[in-house]
């Protein structure tokens, strides 16, 4: 469920060159077109979707580098 929501957020905000529903969890989102500005939108949309707030410590490029990395960050923030 969490991964589905991540993919939905990516589909709406990441501007990837591929379909986010078919992404390998380890695929590099930056190589697939994620820009630094789009990653801000992804972060804010994830905060809305999961009712969390990304702290400054997580604002590094690698946090949003893949579906798996985003999943790990959300787990760190208490998302089941």
């Amino acid at each position: 469920m969490t991964e589905q929501v991540i993919r939905k957020v990516l589909g709406e905000h990441a501007k990837l060159s591929v379909d986010s529903t078919a992404l390998d969890p380890a695929a590099d989102l930056y190589e697939l077109g994620l820009t630094s500005h789009a990653s801000v939108n992804v972060m804010l949309a994830l905060e809305d979707a999961f009712d969390v707030e990304f702290p400054d410590e997580l604002l590094r490029k690698s946090t949003f580098a893949s579906v798996g990395a985003i999943r790990s960050a959300l787990t760190e923030l208490g998302v089941a």
Partner: protein, 142 residues
Amino acid sequence: MNDGSGPRVATTRVGCDIVTVRDIASSIDRFGDRYLQRVFTPHELEICTGPGRAQRLAARFAAKEAVMKVLRPREHAVPWRAIEIRRADWGGCTVVLAGNAAALARDEQVTDIQVSISHEPEYAIATVVATRVDEAETGEHP
């Protein structure tokens, strides 16, 4: 052993970025103040007002990203607000680092960060140059 007293050599780092103004305007529409306050400092928000607001904020975002490229944060977390693009008296802009960004610049020995920004209705760009001062390799040059 490097005791910091040997000859030093200065190298230049450069970073650039381009942003679509429409993307900034869309983010403001979609996320409002939450977007603005996560990305921009109070000074930047105070300076960027009026009909050209989205263009000017886009140029500042491009400048922040260009600074990131100069700092090369790798696994360091650097919040966008730790990099401030300040309006200078002469009409251009300067870079002021705080928090993690300032610490990273110290660690990377990056100094004298200079920025130039420009914007049109569709796109905003920024270029940043900085100096890195490091120990010279002296092994083959006694």
